[in-house]
């Protein structure tokens, strides 16, 4: 009898298994899950009603119509919902891994720490935000006057880039937990604050904030510019519209930088033990 060759389950295969197990665990209490998902849907929808009522009252604000704003709103919420779904392990990293010492347990598994934390949970609850964002996004495309056919290609790229960017923020937040687990609510400025800021056209913000959400956190690159491109809406600040077809890639670059920072942080943890 020959020993079967040792076969390493691929990272993707293992991720599927871990995600599947986490879904089984979440659906163990289906009632709780349904209430949470519906609550998620309703609270995010209420947020949009605030914007909608403003536009209903004033028609358009500073040259922006409701269609464009709905596309921005839909994009950022769908992207954030995807990141929340994938990145739960990073979101709870400080409380559930660092503070309790469980991160040591994770290091004892012969797999990448990023993969293991992605596999912490495939969170189903953000489905409420996702559906609601997708609904507003489609409504915005229907309402906007000059939708480009290429939006079909650019908007999915923008969603993917946006999800990568928000996932990067969550990974960066987790890396910060090695230094301190206190006061990390500050990072919510980038996640929830990013979602808020992404809902509005860039021109609504002051110069300092515009620069921040363009060059530090590439929020404009994954949301504002692709939306302008898809709706064929010229940028009042004079940036060429075609930029929006490529700018979502900045979200992936941001994620890449955060992954590098994560590896540095883990190496630092392993050498200091704290």
């Amino acid at each position: 009898m020959t020993q079967p060759p040792a076969r390493t389950l691929s990272a993707l295969g293992l991720y599927r298994r871990m995600a599947g197990a986490s879904i089984v665990a979440q659906l163990r209490y289906p009632g709780t899950f349904a209430i949470q998902a519906i609550g998620n849907f309703v609270t995010t929808l209420l947020g949009f009603f605030g914007i909608w009522s403003l536009f209903r009252r004033f028609g358009s604000i500073a040259g922006w119509d409701i269609g464009t704003v709905a596309v921005l709103y839909g994009l950022v919420n769908v992207a954030f919902a995807v990141a929340e779904t994938l990145g739960r392990g990073f979101e709870v990293f400080g409380g559930e891994y660092v503070r309790t010492g469980s991160f040591d347990r994770l290091l004892l598994r012969p797999r990448s720490t990023l993969l293991l934390l992605l596999g912490h949970e495939l969170r189903l609850r953000p489905i409420g935000r996702f559906l609601q964002g997708a609904f507003v996004l489609i409504a915005g495309l229907w309402l906007a006057p000059h939708v480009q056919w290429s939006a079909v290609l650019v908007l999915p790229l923008a969603i993917a880039g946006g999800a990568a960017m928000f996932l990067g923020v969550l990974i960066g937040q987790a890396a910060l937990c090695f230094i301190t687990v206190e006061g990390l609510e500050v990072v919510n400025v980038l996640t929830y604050g990013g979602v808020e800021a992404g809902q509005y056209p860039l021109t609504m913000f002051g110069r300092w904030l515009r620069r921040f959400i363009t060059f530090v956190l590439p929020l404009a690159a994954v949301c504002y510019y692709p939306a302008l491109f898809s709706l064929n809406h010229p940028d009042p600040l004079g940036v060429p519209t075609w930029i929006g077809a490529l700018s979502p890639l900045a979200g992936f670059a941001f994620l890449g930088v955060m992954v590098l920072i994560w590896h540095r942080a883990v190496a630092g943890y392993v050498s200091s033990g704290s």
């Binding site: 079967p4 040792a6 076969r7 390493t8 389950l9 295969g13 293992l14 298994r17 871990m18 197990a21 089984v24 665990a25 979440q26 163990r28 309790t100 010492g101 469980s102 040591d104 347990r105 290091l107 004892l108 598994r109 012969p110 797999r111 990448s112 392993v270 050498s271 200091s272 033990g273 704290s274």
Partner: protein
């Protein structure tokens, strides 16, 4: 990464040193101070041995365990576990060891024991046939049959610990590190865990490094104890040797049906307690062997019963720590 020659021992540690830098006063600008957790320790554990690794809290045990597990990088020194340097290739190293931290679960709270083991199969890439074999063997030896379908959250501490041990062995590691495996367990569970570890070592030649504060674990399992204190190795010997050098005395208890008589005791024996119907004598068996002492007191009138006992392992270790100011 293969070493130039196969290391004969499962674990080899040479001049291992680890210092931590701490900030005084907790402020960002405070002065830093060095704390020495391990001050150059050396030992090796041959394949198939159960070595007890003990010491008071803060002695450096957990630092050493973390370094051997590959989750902490030492300041200096050499370590080889299974021929690998733990911290240079974490993934390859941890694939070949099993670790049980008594206080932290490695299973998933919301999953059943069986589901958790299946997930570990995929994490460790255990072939399906080998997994089925190991799972059946471990379920049998650790009596997991009734709890395979229960979620980990619902298990009692004893059941959980048995599941944890199974989880740490599903990938056939050559080395098992047990950190407080019996903490909080009731007596039957403790005995079951000890019996299992003993068998594992006998039947499969697994090398076991055991840290515990329960000296009965050590007495029952360890062929050898490594005592660590202040980051140094204070003793490294079979437990019997530690007993002889630390607290070799024995105790003779005598029960009388009347008042115990006044005794003239031989050299090496002293009366240490007197009660209305009993007498306690402490003696050093190297000066006066037990049979001679028993012969000396055996003819006393009114003597009902006599018992000889040794100091408990807890007393021995307490004395040892005190002697070494550990």
């Amino acid at each position: 990464m293969q070493p130039p020659f196969p290391a004969p021992d499962a674990i080899t540690v040479k001049n291992l040193r680890k210092t931590y830098t701490v900030r005084e006063g907790g402020s960002w600008r405070g002065k830093t101070r060095e704390i020495v957790a391990l001050d150059g320790i050396s030992f090796s554990v041959p394949k198939g041995q159960i070595a007890g690794f003990i010491g008071p809290n803060g002695a450096g045990k957990s630092t050493a365990i973390k370094i051997l597990s590959g989750i902490l990088r030492p300041t200096s020194g050499e370590v080889q576990v299974n021929g690998l340097v733990p911290w240079t290739n974490r993934v390859a190293h941890v694939a070949r060891i099993g670790v049980v931290f008594g206080q932290r679960t490695q299973l998933w709270w919301d999953l059943s024991v069986g589901e958790g083991l299946a997930l570990l199969r995929d994490i460790y890439s255990v072939e399906p046939e080998r997994f089925a074999r190991n799972r059946a063997r471990l379920a049998d030896a650790l009596d997991l049959g009734g709890i395979m379908d229960q979620s980990v959250r619902q298990l009692s501490l004893g059941q959980r610990m048995r599941a944890e041990i199974a989880a740490s062995l599903i990938h056939d590691p050559d080395i098992l590190i047990l950190d407080e495996p019996t903490i909080g367990l009731d007596a039957p569970s403790k005995l079951a865990v000890r019996a299992f570890v003993h068998e594992l070592c006998q039947d499969r030649g697994t090398t076991v490094l055991l840290t515990t504060h329960d000296m009965h674990d050590i007495e029952a399992l360890a062929e050898r104890v490594i005592v660590i204190g202040h980051g140094r190795i204070l003793a490294d010997s079979p437990f019997e040797d530690l007993r002889m050098t630390t607290l070799s005395e024995r105790i003779l208890e005598l029960d009388f049906h009347g008042t115990p008589p006044e005794l003239a005791l031989p050299a090496g024996a002293v009366e240490t307690a007197r009660a209305p119907h009993s007498l306690t004598i402490t003696f050093d068996p190297r000066q006066i062997p037990a049979p001679a002492l028993v012969a000396h007191v055996g003819h006393l009138s009114g003597l009902d019963d006599l018992r000889i006992s040794r100091p408990s392992i807890d007393e021995i270790i307490t004395r040892f720590y005190a002697d070494h100011a550990a």
